[in-house]
C-alpha cells in the first residue's frame, strides 16, 4: 500500500499534467470494444503472440515464429499427421517412389490456386525450391540444407548451374525429384513448410514478397508485415482444401513473453507463453489441457511434449574417455532440474529421442538417468576424482540456474567443475571452433523422423556434429538405415543406432522441452502440434 502511495505522487507530478495534455492531443480514449472483436465477419479474429520473425517468405523461413505465419500461407507437398503418426497428402494428392528410393514422383492437387489467382503447378514448386538454393538471392537462404539430398543442389549452390537439375516437371501436375542417395524419409522432409511453391510474383518483385508473400495456403496476407508490430492474415476463400473456420488472425508481435503475457492478461491476446515461475498459478486459473496440445474452454494451458531435446554436447576430442561421459550423465539429477526450475513442465531426457517421436517404445540409454551411487562407483573405480570439467553455456535464458545444479551434482561425486558463460554470439563461435569441453545446446527437429535426430548431430561429417563424434560403424549404419524402404525396418535400424549412441554418449541429454502456452476462454478449439505449429485451419473462436 505504501508503495502505491509513492507511485501516485510521482504519477501526479510527472504524469498528471502531461497525460491530460496528451490525451487531449491524441483525440481521446479507447476504441469501442465492438470494432476490435468484430474482425472480418464470420469466424472471428484470433490474436496470437509471436516475436518479430526472421522471415515469413518460405525461401528463408527458419525459426518457429516465422514458421507459425508461413505454414498457413503456404502448403507444402505433404503434411505430418500426429494423430496417425504418418505423412499425409497436402498440396500433393499422392506420390510414389522408384525401387531404391532415389526418385520420387508427386502428383499435385488439380485446380489449386495461389492467393493472387495463379495456378499452383509443378513449376511453382521447382521455382520455390530453386529460390532456396539460389546463392544470388538478396541474402542466400540459410535453410537450403533441406534440399541437400536433391541432385543438382551442390552445382546450384556453387554457382555452376542456374537450375536445380534434379527437379523436373513432366506435366503441369507432376513433380519428379531425383536424389543423390536413397532416402526413404524424403516425403516427410517435404512436409517442411519452407519447401513450398511460389508464384511468378516472387521472382518479379522479391522485395515486396518478403513482406507480403503470396502462397497457396488456407490463409492469405491482409496488408504487409509491419516489422515489430503485427502481421494480419485472413481466410483464403478459394482454398482447394477445407476452408478455415477463423475469419482472420492477428499475429501480434511482442518483444518478449513477459510483455506478451501482460497483454494476454489485459485481454488483448488469445494465446501467450507462460512466464517462468508462474506455471502453477496459471494452470490452476485457466485449467490444464486434457491432451496437452488442444485448448478448449476451461482446459487452456498446454504442456504437451515438443520434438526437441536440451543436452550437453561433450567434445569427444577433449573428453576422450567414454567412462567420464557416463559418470557425468549418471551424476546429474535431471528430475530435480525439471521440478525446481521448470515446475515439472519439462521432462528428464533418457535418450536423444523424445518419447513422442516413437510412442510406446523404450529407447532409453542405460546411463541416461540419475544414479548417484553408480556415478560414484565409476569415479572411484576409474580414479576420476578431481577430473577438471569446464561447463560452457550462453548467458541469459535461464541456463545459469541449470548449470549451477549440474555443477553441484558433479562436484558431489568428485569432479572439479568450472562454469564458463558467454553471450550468445561469442558462445556460438566457441562451439564452432571446438574450443570447449562440454557445452549446452538444444536440438529442435526439422521433421518428425528419427533420422533428423541422428544424422545432423552424430554423422562424422555433419555440420551440426559439435561433439566431433566419429564412429565409422555409426556412419555406416546411418547410411544403411537411410536406404531402407520399409518403414518399420528403417525405424528398427535407427533404434539400433540410438542404442550404440547410448554406449558412446557423445552427448548427455538433459531434458525434453514441452509447450508452455495458455489460451483465452474465447478459444473454442485450437491444436498446437509437437513442432509448435498451430493448426489454424481447424481452430475456432467465439466470434
Amino acid at each position: 500500500m505504501h508503495q502505491n502511495h509513492a507511485v501516485t505522487r510521482r504519477g501526479f507530478v510527472a504524469g498528471g499534467l502531461a497525460s491530460t495534455a496528451l490525451a487531449a492531443l491524441a483525440g481521446c480514449g479507447k476504441k469501442n470494444a465492438g470494432s476490435s472483436e468484430g474482425g472480418t465477419g464470420a469466424g472471428g479474429t484470433l490474436k496470437y503472440y509471436i516475436n518479430n520473425p526472421v522471415a515469413i517468405d518460405p525461401y528463408n523461413t527458419q525459426e518457429d515464429q516465422g514458421t507459425q505465419v508461413e505454414h498457413i500461407l503456404f502448403d507444402a507437398l505433404t503434411d505430418y499427421d500426429w494423430a496417425k503418426g504418418a505423412v499425409v497428402p497436402k498440396a500433393a494428392e499422392s506420390w510414389e517412389s522408384n525401387d531404391d528410393d532415389t526418385e520420387f514422383t508427386f502428383h499435385l492437387v488439380k485446380g489449386a490456386k495461389f492467393h493472387n489467382g495463379d495456378a499452383v503447378d509443378a513449376k511453382a514448386f521447382k521455382r520455390g525450391f530453386e529460390r532456396i538454393c539460389d546463392p544470388d538471392m538478396p541474402t542466400p537462404s540459410e535453410i537450403n540444407y533441406h534440399l541437400a539430398p536433391i541432385v543438382g543442389y551442390e552445382e546450384m549452390l556453387s554457382k555452376k548451374a542456374k537450375e536445380l537439375s534434379g527437379v523436373t516437371c513432366p506435366d503441369e501436375n507432376t513433380l519428379v525429384i531425383k536424389l543423390n542417395a536413397p532416402m526413404a524419409d524424403f516425403p516427410t522432409v517435404c512436409s517442411h513448410p519452407a519447401l513450398a511453391p511460389v508464384p511468378q510474383a516472387a521472382l518479379d518483385d522479391p522485395a515486396s514478397f518478403l513482406k507480403h508473400p503470396i502462397g497457396n495456403g488456407p490463409f492469405m496476407m491482409d496488408g504487409d508485415w509491419v516489422a515489430d508490430q503485427y502481421i494480419n492474415v485472413k481466410r483464403f476463400d478459394d482454398y482447394y482444401g477445407e476452408k478455415a473456420k477463423l475469419g482472420a488472425i492477428n499475429f501480434s508481435i511482442q518483444k518478449d513473453p513477459t510483455t506478451a503475457f501482460r497483454e494476454f492478461e489485459g485481454g488483448n491476446l488469445d494465446m501467450a507463453q507462460i512466464p517462468t515461475g508462474r506455471f502453477g498459478e496459471i494452470s490452476e486459473k485457466y485449467g490444464k489441457s486434457e491432451d496437452g496440445y488442444t485448448v478448449t474452454k476451461g482446459h487452456q494451458v498446454l504442456t504437451g511434449a515438443e520434438l526437441s531435446v536440451y543436452y550437453l554436447a561433450v567434445n569427444c576430442e577433449k573428453i576422450t574417455d567414454a567412462t567420464v561421459r557416463h559418470a557425468i550423465s549418471l551424476a546429474i539429477n535431471r528430475q530435480n532440474i525439471c521440478d525446481t526450475l521448470f515446475e515439472g513442465t519439462r521432462t528428464p531426457a533418457d535418450s536423444v529421442f523424445p518419447k513422442i517421436l516413437d510412442p510406446g517404445m523404450d529407447n532409453s540409454w542405460p546411463d541416461c538417468k540419475y544414479d548417484k551411487a553408480a556415478a560414484q562407483k565409476l569415479v572411484d573405480d576409474n580414479n576420476l576424482a578431481g577430473t577438471e570439467i569446464t561447463l560452457s553455456y550462453n548467458s541469459g535464458g535461464g541456463h545459469e540456474d541449470i548449470m549451477s545444479i549440474i555443477q553441484s551434482d558433479l562436484e558431489a561425486v568428485g569432479f572439479k567443475v568450472t562454469q564458463e558463460s558467454q553471450e550468445w554470439a561469442s558462445y556460438l563461435t566457441k562451439l564452432g571452433d571446438g574450443s570447449f569441453q562440454m557445452g549446452r545446446l538444444g536440438w529442435i527437429a526439422d521433421y518428425p523422423t528419427m533420422d533428423n535426430f541422428i544424422y545432423p548431430n552424430f554423422y562424422s561429417t555433419a555440420d551440426n556434429n559439435y561433439s566431433k563424434y566419429n564412429n565409422p560403424a555409426v556412419d555406416k549404419a546411418i547410411d544403411e538405415a537411410r536406404q531402407i524402404t520399409d518403414e518399420d525396418k528403417r525405424k528398427e535400424a535407427f533404434r539400433a543406432i540410438n542404442k550404440t549412441l547410448g554406449e558412446d554418449m557423445p552427448i548427455i541429454p538433459l531434458m525434453f522441452y514441452s509447450h508452455n502456452w495458455v489460451g483465452s476462454s474465447r478459444i473454442e478449439k485450437l491444436y498446437l502440434d509437437p513442432q509448435s505449429k498451430v493448426d489454424f485451419a481447424t481452430a475456432s473462436i467465439q466470434a
Binding site: 507511485v7 501516485t8 510521482r10 504519477g11 507530478v13 510527472a14 504524469g15 502531461a18 497525460s19 495534455a21 496528451l22 492531443l25 491524441a26 483525440g27 481521446c28 480514449g29 479507447k30 476504441k31 476490435s36 526472421v54 522471415a55 528463408n60 546463392p135 538478396p138 541474402t139 542466400p140 540459410e142 537450403n144 540444407y145 551442390e154 549452390l157 556453387s158 522485395a207 518478403l210 509491419v226 516489422a227 515489430d228 508490430q229 503485427y230 494480419n232 492477428n250 501480434s252 511482442q254 518483444k255 510483455t259 501482460r262 497483454e263 489485459g266 558467454q422 550468445w424 554470439a425 561469442s426 556460438l428 563461435t429 564452432g432 545446446l441 538444444g442 536440438w443 555440420d463 559439435y466
Partner: protein
C-alpha cells in the same frame, strides 16, 4: 552567416569519417561471428556460409561473385580498409547494405520503417518537455520559495535521480495495471507497442506513457535551467529599469526577461531533440516501441553490423544537423551573436 554554415558543414566530413571508421574497426574487435550467428545452433553448411560471406563482402570474390580461394582452399578475407571503402562507396549512392539477420531486407528499408515512430515519439516528448519544463521553471522562479517552487524543485530532483526506464516501468504498472484494477477496467492506458489496425486504443494513446518517460529527465532539466536563468535575468539592471519606467511585473517578465532567459533553454531542448532522434534505446525497449533505438539495440545484440552502421550513420548526420540549427538559432534569439564575423574570430 553563409560562410559560417559552409564551414560547419565541411567540419561534418572529418567527424563523420572518424565515427564510422571507429565503428567499423570495432566490428573486428567485438567477439562473435555474425555469420555463424545467423544460423544459430543449427550450423550452416560450408558452401552456404561462404556464399553468405561473399554476399556481405567479407571475403574476396571474382567478377561472377564466386569466392576466391587461396592455395589451401580457404577463402581470402577482405581487408578492413577495402570493406570500409566499399561501405563508403555504397553510402554515397544511398546504399546502406543488407541486414545480416532480417533475411534479405535492406538496411535503408528497415530504418525507413522505424524512423517515423522515433520521430513522432520524439516530437511528442519534446512538446511535453518544452511546455511543462518552461512553465514549471517560470512558476518556480516567479513564485520563488513558495509551495510551487518547492514542489518543482523537489520533483525535478526526483526525476533527475530516477532512471527513465524505471519510471517507465512504474508508469506501466500504475496506469496499465493498478488503475485498471481499481476502475474495474474502466480506465487505463496502453503499456506497450504503437498500435495497429486491430489495436484496442486510438493510435495517439500509445504515445502517452513512452513520451512522458522519454521526456521526464529532460523536462526536469529544462525546468531547472529555466528557473535559474529567469532568476538571474530578473536581477539584472535592465529589468530594474523596465520596472522603474512603470511596466507591470507581468509585462516585464513576458517582454523583457523571458526572451533572454530562454536562450540556454532552447539550446538544451534543441540538443535534446537531436539525442531523442538518435532513438531512445531504454524507453523504446521498455515500451516495445518499434523505433530506431530498439532496432539498434537488437542489432547490436545480434551483431547485425549493417543495421548498426546504418543507424549510427544516420544518427551522426541528424545530430550534426540539429546542432547546427541550434547554433544558428542563437543568432535569431540574440542579435549580439554574429557568426563568421571578424570580431568573433578575433
Amino acid at each position: 552567416m553563409g560562410k559560417y554554415i559552409v564551414k560547419r558543414v565541411l567540419q561534418f566530413i572529418p567527424v563523420f569519417l572518424g565515427v564510422t571508421l571507429i565503428l567499423f574497426a570495432m566490428q573486428n574487435i567485438v567477439p562473435g561471428d555474425p555469420i555463424k550467428l545467423i544460423a544459430g545452433e543449427k550450423k550452416l553448411d560450408p558452401q552456404t556460409e561462404l556464399n553468405l560471406r561473399a554476399t556481405y563482402h567479407l571475403i574476396d570474390t571474382d567478377a561472377d561473385g564466386k569466392p576466391i580461394l587461396d592455395e589451401s582452399g580457404n577463402p581470402v578475407e577482405t581487408p578492413l580498409w577495402k570493406r570500409y571503402t566499399l561501405y563508403l562507396g555504397g553510402l554515397l549512392q544511398g546504399d546502406l547494405g543488407v541486414s545480416y539477420q532480417q533475411s534479405g531486407k535492406s538496411v535503408s528499408s528497415i530504418l525507413m520503417e522505424k524512423y517515423p515512430y522515433t520521430i513522432r515519439l520524439a516530437a511528442v516528448a519534446i512538446l511535453v518537455e518544452a511546455v511543462i519544463g518552461i512553465l514549471a521553471g517560470m512558476v518556480s522562479a516567479i513564485k520563488r520559495y513558495s509551495f510551487w517552487d518547492v514542489l518543482v524543485t523537489l520533483s525535478t530532483s526526483i526525476l533527475v535521480a530516477m532512471p527513465a526506464f524505471w519510471l517507465g516501468m512504474l508508469l506501466q504498472l500504475f496506469f496499465g495495471i493498478m488503475v485498471k484494477d481499481w476502475t474495474g477496467g474502466g480506465f487505463y492506458l496502453p503499456i506497450s507497442g504503437a498500435g495497429g489496425p486491430t489495436a484496442e486504443f486510438n493510435a495517439g494513446m500509445y504515445y502517452i506513457l513512452p513520451a512522458i518517460t522519454l521526456a521526464s529527465v529532460s523536462t526536469a532539466y529544462t525546468a531547472r535551467i529555466m528557473r535559474s536563468q529567469l532568476l538571474e535575468v530578473m536581477n539584472q539592471d535592465y529589468i530594474r529599469t523596465a520596472r522603474a519606467k512603470g511596466l507591470s511585473r507581468r509585462a516585464t517578465i513576458l517582454h523583457h526577461a523571458l526572451k533572454n532567459a530562454l536562450i540556454p533553454v532552447v539550446t538544451y531542448i534543441g540538443i535534446d531533440f537531436g539525442g531523442m532522434l538518435a532513438g531512445a534505446i531504454l524507453t523504446e525497449t521498455v515500451f516495445n516501441w518499434p523505433g530506431v533505438g530498439f532496432e539498434t539495440y537488437r542489432a547490436i545484440t545480434q551483431r547485425d553490423w549493417p543495421i548498426v552502421m546504418g543507424s549510427v550513420t544516420i544518427i551522426v548526420i541528424v545530430v550534426m544537423v540539429i546542432n547546427l540549427i541550434v547554433d544558428i538559432s542563437y543568432a535569431f534569439l540574440d542579435p549580439r551573436i554574429r557568426y563568421g564575423s571578424s570580431k568573433d574570430q578575433g
